[in-house]
Symmetry: none
Subunit: 209 residues, 4 copies
DNA sequence: ACTTCCGGGACAACCCGTTCCT
DNA sequence: AGGAACGGGTTGTCCCGGAAGT
């Protein structure tokens, strides 16, 4: 008897995981309110029963997307990268490149998944806001951390306030992505990158070491 | 005294205008997709018949809000302010103060009306994107203009690229507002302002005239 | 003073008449329930106010179309033609030709205006039914009349019942038009015409005079 | 005894079937455009959700009514009856009696369900036209068939064109029903039947076998 | 007398998150 | 886990009328 299909359960990976992934795509494209449960189900080939077996509600699914998909992706691209460095300028550029590899040109069309959700949901759903905020904090803290290490390592002038710089960089990044998305063109983002480079250089000590 | 243009002070002002204003509020709070026509009508005391007499569709109303309310407000707060100046640093700060006066703490809770709409609608409705983009362009051009005049007037170093600086400032601003909105706290925005000041100072000539 | 514009009312023909004519076209195309007052107004270039100045309601307009446009057209094509003859076979064919000239291929696409309205409105609006029935009666009476004169003139066998023949011819005609309309093809109507000819021949005396 | 196919006799029969049946009644009474989905739902005790689970749109429901209810009824009353005969005159009369039994006096008030829909929908919805036309063709073919067998069996003169006769009979029938419906009186239909009998007799061979 | 602007409100179809029974 | 049913909510349509101007 054929028992090569040892784990038929994994053949379709785990329904829950498939739902979360499909939901991420749909939310990325249409926003949370614009995402329809039926569309997610169509994509996964599952049914209502399966969905409500795994998730209490649509909101619940949205939070799962935040906590699992988006959290993971920010962590991987940003937090891990910055944590390993004491040179902010280089580390930030490295992270930006990673992000470009991961999302490709979708940034231009669809923006940053985290910020999209934040802008849409924060004012209308406190639960979402909290989950999203947790990620932003971790992100910011990662930048603050690399800045502090940068100061200690002499890679960054010590007159800066790491918290302010972190906010400044993060805000600029999200804003730059947003501008490009609205323009459907990479142009604004490239300009932003150029000027961000110039700005970051001003953080370098005048006569290095 | 010229009173020929004095409108007969119609008791109910003008249904169309009332609808647009109420719609702006609703969109600002709930996003365009979250805005419900019925809610707008409740607020104005008007009915469906009146609404569809003035607007062909909900989308149409949304575009009117963009073109009339938001366009006007950005123009008044930013474009006019910057156009009158050749000192970017001061002019930008002046505009930021105007904005604060106009929107008050709503920035913290609801963000920037223009950017909210941009993030929500640009990827899913080309018409919206175009109308929104027109405003962003005017805004950017205003910053570019004041930068160029700043260079000529010797208030800004001439090694900058006005276009890049404009994008950088605009992106940072929208991102900073977004961060504060997500945090429901002025803190991130204040930090952003501080660092933006620092950044702007780096644009000043070393030994001012 | 200039009174050359003696009849400015007729300059635009009389709004009421224009409305009735446009409504006839719309009803012919979409049925009474499918006809929209706004569409009629668009066609005439008039507005709601003008409409409700002339007609108490949409139903009212529909009745006016029946009484004025359709009544006139049936009278002209059928009643007048048959009234002048004592040879039913020829007269009926003459009328059919007139109808073809008047409506052209619209019969194929849209059917008989009178019968369309009858089928749609008779069961749901007694007033319509009455107005329509009046026309059908006049039509039938015209056939009965020519049949009776045909019998007297020896052009038709006297064993027929003129009433039954009239109903039979009328029913067949409307049914034949309906079949063609549903097929969007003249074919069924031509076949019907052929067989109607055969049938009419059976009404002729065997050895004429 | 095989009871595997015995449906568990679900208490509420089958929502879809109930909807189709109720819709047929509503369409029969008010036409397709006049039929309101809500009215159908009220009759069945079901809700919007149930409806749009089974049908993609109102149009879809209409087509289901055509394909399932009307198709079946024409087949049963006409096609099956004529297929079993080689004597057109008798067979047609038998079918007419069956129809009378099935629809009772509703013919007088509401006409023929198939023809009602045909007249209303053919010009404005191609999909409807096609589905309706399929039924008309089957109906006509059944008459053509019995005519051809009638000729072979010597029950009908061989100078007729079966296609034309079929159209003629069908057109007359639908027209006769329509006339009676408009008059709200059986009279015109009875007269039509009388004359149809006379006409059919003319198709009989002079000296039968 | 006739027209236009503006508005009213019921109701249409359709969507969508959710629950319940199997 | 499957899928039928639920029910409230959404946008948009359409017939109709009032107020005021010309």
């Amino acid at each position: 008897m054929n028992n090569r299909n040892v784990k038929p359960a994994t053949a379709h990976k785990n329904a829950r995981e498939r739902i979360v992934q499909a939901a991420f795509r749909e939310i990325y494209k249409h926003g949370f309110q614009g995402m329809r449960v039926d569309a997610v189900l169509d994509k996964t080939g599952l049914t209502k029963g399966a969905f409500y077996h795994h998730f209490a509600s649509k909101q619940n699914l949205g939070l799962a997307v935040v906590d699992e998909v988006i959290y993971g992706s920010i962590n991987e691209i940003w937090v891990d990268t910055l944590a390993a460095s004491d040179d902010p300028v280089n580390a930030i550029q490295e992270a930006l490149e990673k992000a470009a590899l991961c999302y490709g040109m979708e940034f231009i069309n669809l923006g940053c998944p985290l910020n999209n959700l934040a802008q849409e949901m924060s004012p209308i759903d406190e639960e979402f806001r909290l989950h999203i905020n947790r990620i932003f904090h971790q992100w910011r803290d990662a930048i603050v951390g690399v800045m502090q290490r940068g100061v200690l390592a002499g890679n960054v002038i010590n007159s800066i306030d790491p918290q302010s710089v972190a906010v400044f960089v993060l805000a600029g990044l999200e804003g730059g992505i947003g501008l490009a998305k609205n323009e459907r063109d990479l142009g604004p983002f490239v300009r932003w990158l150029d000027e961000m480079d110039r700005y970051l250089e001003t953080l370098r000590p005048k006569n290095p070491k």
